[in-house]
């Protein structure tokens, strides 16, 4: 019986022991090697006193170590917390503290950057790295030694309802929050997506999206479920992706709009030769129409699936490729085994054309936010439609995304209910950026908004009020200071110094008004 994520690996290792499971650069792991290294790591983690539901944080670049770390943690009954490899110490420390990770699995390059702050993280006991550093007080172990292959299978006492992963993502305010996903959620997501993408064991999928991101993680899980192959890649140029697709015979890949923009550049070489790609999927923001048109002409034999999902409900909708010609701007309809409702302010179902909030009901609705019951209660709520037999424990997810449907029920994105920004597939909370601007500079107040961007979806523009009105501040200097604390996707494109910010009658920053100002490019 398969009810835990690691059971998917166990089953695929039995059925396809010699098939490629993970490919990263020159490294290749067959399913049996993958399963044995995972067991080796799980046994080691047990010896390090990892208990059911303890958190194991994983901060690695795309490599074979990354999926081994994820599945190794799961097999001990622990919860894995994947972190994007591009995060800075500031964000990593927040996540480690917030989730109370006992173990951090990382590499020596990242650990060097974390070294000045890592000893201050509460609860962290052990570091597992590719090369042991001498500096930290924490106990350290070598990843390769801990994950030597073991052919036995060890079992955890987890159940499908247990927490399996915490994915950190931003909302509209505050610091990133951990979305809790159960084994059941992740298995359901893998089954649903591999169903509508028809993923088979013969597929070889390119993991261009990070596993810290719901769609990237889902990709890994669909391949492990079906016995397909995950090919991992860290890239700088579009042509590296195209080369990888050719060299590895890639049949499917997922991306975010900025990735497709990169591939649509002539220099990527996309379309110069026929590719084995059976399908591509887009998520993490609407695909710009000019990019979609280009991809359709460059990849005439490839199915393009436009998908939509939010971490809180894992995966939600997709547009079948057959509808692309008629409804190129649609988000599609609900994924299998899922109900998507559009609900207006009065809690009633919207008519076609009427704008309302997208509400998700199905097996991928997450367990809410880690350690944030109040915030969870705002997002996970009882089903809006009462019906005999429906229990109060059956929670739906209120997405915060405003949508509408056409007469045939296809969904269209309208906007956000709040001020959340989305750039290059990342969700960004304005207040997190504002706090950094004010903390590192003589700025008394800042407000950050998203401005439409042809490549990124949105880019950030900051408005800031100097602490001392008489002082002349250099926006470039402010940005440079922020650049030490924020990865580039969180960094404003420009900073506009102002004397005041537009306010609402209730005394809050009027973000919609500010967005209009940023869009019109008015300075000051």
């Amino acid at each position: 019986m398969r009810f835990l994520i690691e059971h998917m690996l166990r089953d695929s290792a039995e059925r396809y022991p010699n098939k490629d499971a993970i490919v990263a650069g020159d490294a290749r792991l067959s399913y049996s090697e993958f399963a044995q290294r995972v067991t080796g790591l799980a046994v080691s983690l047990r010896k390090l006193n990892i208990q059911r539901q303890d958190r194991v944080a994983v901060f690695l670049t795309p490599s074979t170590d990354l999926p081994i770390a994820i599945f190794g943690a799961l097999q001990t009954g622990a919860v894995f917390v994947p972190m994007h490899h591009g995060l800075f110490p500031e964000q990593v420390v927040h996540i480690l503290n917030d989730c109370g990770a006992k173990i951090l699995i990382t590499d020596s390059m990242r650990l060097k950057k974390l070294a000045p702050v890592i000893d201050q993280v509460d609860h962290l006991e052990t570091l597992i790295v590719d090369k042991v550093l001498t500096k930290s007080k924490l106990q350290q172990h070598d990843f390769a030694e801990l994950s030597l292959p073991i052919s036995d299978n060890i079992k955890s006492c987890s159940i499908g309802k247990d927490l399996a992963a915490i994915l950190y993502t931003s909302g509209s305010t505050g610091r990133p929050k951990g979305v809790m996903l159960s084994h059941n959620n992740i298995i359901a997501g893998a089954e649903i997506v591999s169903e509508y993408l028809s993923i088979r064991s013969t597929d070889r999928l390119l993991a261009a999206l990070p596993f810290s991101f719901d769609a990237g993680l889902n990709h890994l899980m669909t391949t492990v479920l079906t016995g397909a192959t995950t090919v991992m890649l860290e890239f700088k140029f579009g042509r590296e992706i195209v080369k990888k697709i050719m060299d590895e015979g890639i049949t499917g890949m997922g991306g975010v709009p900025s990735l497709w923009s990169l591939l649509a550049q002539p220099s990527s070489g996309l379309g110069k030769q026929p590719l084995p790609l059976r399908y591509i999927t887009n998520t993490g923001g609407a695909m710009p129409q000019h990019i979609l048109t280009k991809l359709r002409s460059l990849l005439p034999a490839t199915d393009i699936f436009l998908m939509y999902g939010l971490t809180e409900a894992f995966r939600s909708t997709y547009l079948p490729p057959s509808q692309l010609g008629r409804r190129p701007t649609s988000m599609g309809k609900a994924i299998p085994n899922t109900e998507i409702l559009v609900v207006n302010r009065n809690g009633k179902l919207c008519q076609p054309g009427e704008e309302g909030e997208l509400v998700h009901h199905g097996p991928t609705v997450s367990l809410g936010y880690w350690n944030q019951p109040e915030l969870t209660a705002k997002v996970l709520r009882p089903h809006p439609i009462t019906q005999p037999g429906r229990t109060s424990g059956d929670m739906v997810c209120y997405s915060g995304d405003i949508v509408k449907t056409d007469e045939s029920g296809y969904l269209f994105f309208v906007g956000r209910r709040d001020n959340q920004i989305k750039s290059a597939g990342f969700r960004i909370s304005p207040t997190e950026i504002e706090d950094v601007i004010c903390r590192l500079n003589p700025i008394q107040q800042a407000a950050v908004v998203g401005v439409p961007d042809a490549v990124l979806g949105q880019h950030l523009v900051a408005f800031a009020i100097a602490e001392d009105p008489a002082e002349t501040l250099d926006p470039k200097e402010i940005l440079a200071k922020c650049g030490s604390a924020l990865p580039r996707h969180m960094l404003p494109r420009r900073i506009v110094l102002v004397d005041d910010l537009p306010m609402t009658p209730s005394g809050k920053v009027d973000y919609p008004k500010l967005t209009v100002r940023a869009n019109s490019g008015v300075k000051g």
Partner: protein
């Protein structure tokens, strides 16, 4: 025509402005931009746009290789070749 040193200075100043991490880490014109993770795939697109606009050159598909973008110095030297080429 601008010489390599002038181009290097111009590129370095622009990189400092657009990639604050390069400035904070005191990246010199011979330090790695790609390996260090300071410039990612989208950053390269920004660099290309900057070079094409500032130096009135057109980068070809073959120009888009890591060797050309590894350091500020390597960016400047292939830009210099492109400028010389377009002036011939």
């Amino acid at each position: 025509m601008k010489n390599i040193d002038e181009i290097t200075t111009e590129v370095l100043n622009w990189v400092y402005e657009k990639f604050p991490l390069a400035k904070n880490n005191k990246i010199s014109d011979n330090d790695s931009l790609l390996e260090s993770g300071i410039v990612d795939s989208l950053g390269i697109l920004d660099i290309v746009a900057f070079l094409e606009e500032t130096f009135s050159i057109q980068l070809s598909d073959e120009d888009m290789v890591a060797d050309h973008f590894e350091t500020v110095r390597s960016i400047a030297s292939f830009t210099h070749i492109k400028i010389s080429g377009s002036n011939m």
